[in-house]
């Protein structure tokens, strides 16, 4: 991985430090934060152990409330289900709430291929979509764009001339543009932050109000939810509604949380479809250590403290899930061996992520575990390991007597920016023997 362009790095540095400070302040207000984390971890761990039962419960509850439930083994299947539903309703466009899950399966592209336009309605997603780009941060996807770039984008793609580049003005332009789409849309598509098995309630946590728009106004709502998002009971919300807003946007509570169950006469969509998505999650579940990555609640707190993410940005991870969580989730979702095998190596194991993860995912431990699965450990290191298994071999190696020892260790990469330590006159144990007999 290479450090990103200076502008990107400046933006990321500024953004991550800002959100970090807000997060730290609101977490400091909560005296039982560690207890909440412990509960969050346990709820998720327990849920993964009963995933089949919980999904069946969720399905039954949604259906009892008049909703429909579909299952999808992979992206292709999910896109087919969604596409068929959209075309069955004769819709040529849909309005969408930001959903990493739908990005993961490339839903927009699949809909395009069927002649359906998916209008992204989060401001940042709108920006990312208009620039034919993709998201570089879970929470602030357009963090790599400045206001003047955005103004130019709106002018070019939305035909909005004469706009200033003041964020208020740009936001107002987006609001007016999107309101028309909300009012006329026949189908809304969302993801879900959680699905409660006990009641069949699905929830979306957001800031801008477009989530409410997409899940309330159109007569048909389709929600694509990763199977790992299911929570056992209604009560569990009391934990996650505290952990998530404080960890993600650094607020006591985000502006809007929408919780709906099936359909309701004369209030919101008359038709609701929940699509339960696997797409590699069962593969993650099959790894007894790696499955902890499924506990993630997509808060992005780990991104905001990661020194690697701060310097390379989200695109460098080659996936919709960047940063520390991306490094443990993506390789498992894609399969090992696979195209994401490099990711577990993209970490200095500093542990800052584990400290802030609201559900206590031990990311460094999972990174190390995945390193042994993907392979790529240095042969020179293995040679060193052999040398270290006995005193005599070790002492010989210290004195450079083991062939290949020195050259094997990527010296070029070290000396690119650092001097080598000057070799000492004697090793510690030579000193010890000399002075202590």
């Amino acid at each position: 991985m290479k450090p990103g362009e200076p502008q990107l790095r400046r933006n990321l540095h500024h953004a991550t430090r800002g959100i970090r400070a807000k997060r730290n302040a609101v977490v400091a207000e909560v005296p039982d934060w560690e207890e909440l984390r412990a509960a969050g971890e346990a709820i998720k761990r327990g849920a993964m152990r009963r995933l089949d039962v919980l999904l069946e419960e969720l399905e039954a509850a949604v259906q009892a409330a008049g909703g429909h439930v579909h299952w999808a083994r992979d992206a292709t299947e999910a896109n087919a289900v969604v596409g068929d539903l959209v075309t069955a309703h004769d819709a040529r466009e849909v309005v969408k709430v930001k959903s990493l899950t739908t990005d993961e399966i490339d839903l927009n592209q699949a809909l395009e291929q069927r002649g359906v336009t998916a209008i992204e309605t989060d401001l940042a997603e709108l920006i990312v979509q208009l620039s034919h780009d993709w998201s570089s941060h879970i929470l602030v996807p357009a963090i790599h764009r400045n206001r003047s770039e955005i103004r130019d984008l709106f002018a070019r793609e939305l035909g909005l001339e004469g706009l200033g580049d003041d964020p208020e003005e740009l936001t107002d332009a987006a609001r007016r543009h999107l309101r028309q789409a909300f009012l006329r849309a026949r189908v809304g598509i969302s993801g879900a932050n959680f699905g409660i098995a006990e009641t069949g309630t699905v929830g979306v946590v957001e800031s801008e109000g477009n989530g409410r728009m997409c899940t309330t106004l159109p007569p048909v709502l389709i929600t694509v939810m990763g199977i790992e998002k299911v929570l056992p009971s209604w009560r569990d919300l009391e934990v996650f509604l505290q952990l998530l807003p404080r960890s993600s946007t650094g607020e006591r509570m985000n502006p809007y949380t929408s919780l709906w169950t099936g359909v309701r006469t004369d209030d919101g969509p008359g038709e609701f479809h929940l699509v339960l998505l696997d797409n590699g999650r069962t593969r993650v579940l099959a790894d007894a250590v790696g499955r902890d990555a499924l506990h993630c609640i997509r808060c992005s707190a780990c991104l905001n403290v990661c020194p690697v993410y701060e310097r390379v940005g989200g695109h460098a991870y080659g996936s919709v899930y960047p940063g520390p969580i991306g490094a443990i989730l993506t390789p498992q979702l894609h399969g090992i061996p696979g195209d994401a095998d490099e990711l577990p190596w993209a970490s200095s194991l500093c542990g800052a992520c584990a400290d802030v993860c609201p559900v206590k995912i031990d990311i460094p431990r999972l990174l190390v575990h995945l390193r042994s699965r993907v392979g790529g450990s240095d042969p020179a290191l293995r040679l060193m390991g052999f040398a270290m298994e006995g005193r005599r071999r070790f002492e010989a190696a210290q004195l450079g007597r083991v062939p290949g020892m020195r050259t094997g260790i990527g010296l070029g990469a070290w000396t690119k920016g650092r001097d080598l330590p000057p070799p000492p006159r004697e090793t510690f144990r030579q000193w010890w023997r000399r002075t202590r007999g």
Binding site: M1, K2, P3, P307, V308, R311, V312, W345, A346, S347, S348, L349, C350, G351, A352, A354, D355, V368, L370, R371, S372, R373, V374, G375, G376, S377, D378, L381, R382, M384, G385, F386, M388, E389, G390, R391, F394, Q398, I409, G410, A413, W414, K416, G417, R418, D419, L420, P421, P423, P424, E426, T427, F428, R429, Q430, W431, W432, R436
Partner: protein
Amino acid sequence: MRVALLVTCLVDTLFPRAGIATVRVLERAGCEVDFPLDQTCCGQMHRNTGAAREAERLAARLPAVFAGYDAIVTPSASCAATVRETTDLGVFELSEFLVDQLGVEDVGATFPHRVTYHPTCHSLRALRVGDKPLRLLRAVRDIDLVELPDAQECCGFGGTFAIKNADVSLAMLDDKLRSVRATGAQVCAAADCSCLMHIGGGLRRAGDGVRTLHLAEILAS
């Protein structure tokens, strides 16, 4: 008190002064220090790079090598963390041993220089030694201890990360060096020679004249 020194393969081979200083500090604090010669490596590097079998073999050697001591002390926070995770041995990093086990903060040292301290990721997050190293340093006579800006940021070493992801590692190092320079310190200290090797290598390349010393070397002065 009789303690065994777990000197670490890195210190033994490349930074013996840190090991020698650790022995001096412990002896000055009233300990009898042994150095079991059969020790080699705790296996941290192998553990972290997915060479699990090699790491297990190395860890498995340790209990026999260190049998029969009241305590095992090491000048490396990262090795202490590894040994704790892979064995049942009672191993302590130097600063936590001095402060928690011996109840000592003033080790009788004098060091009339400006020093800044980098709290390595293992000491900060794995061992959670907190401010023990700083308390020990504050008690050093004539020291001018300056707080390192953004101290908690990783220096970018990360073991093989420094080589496998050299560009990002160097970008992180750049920021750490900037923080070090901002203090005007003549010496940057830490509780891990691995990080010091990386920070020191960068300082030497930059020709700043700023030295790196292990915490023990200052405490032994």
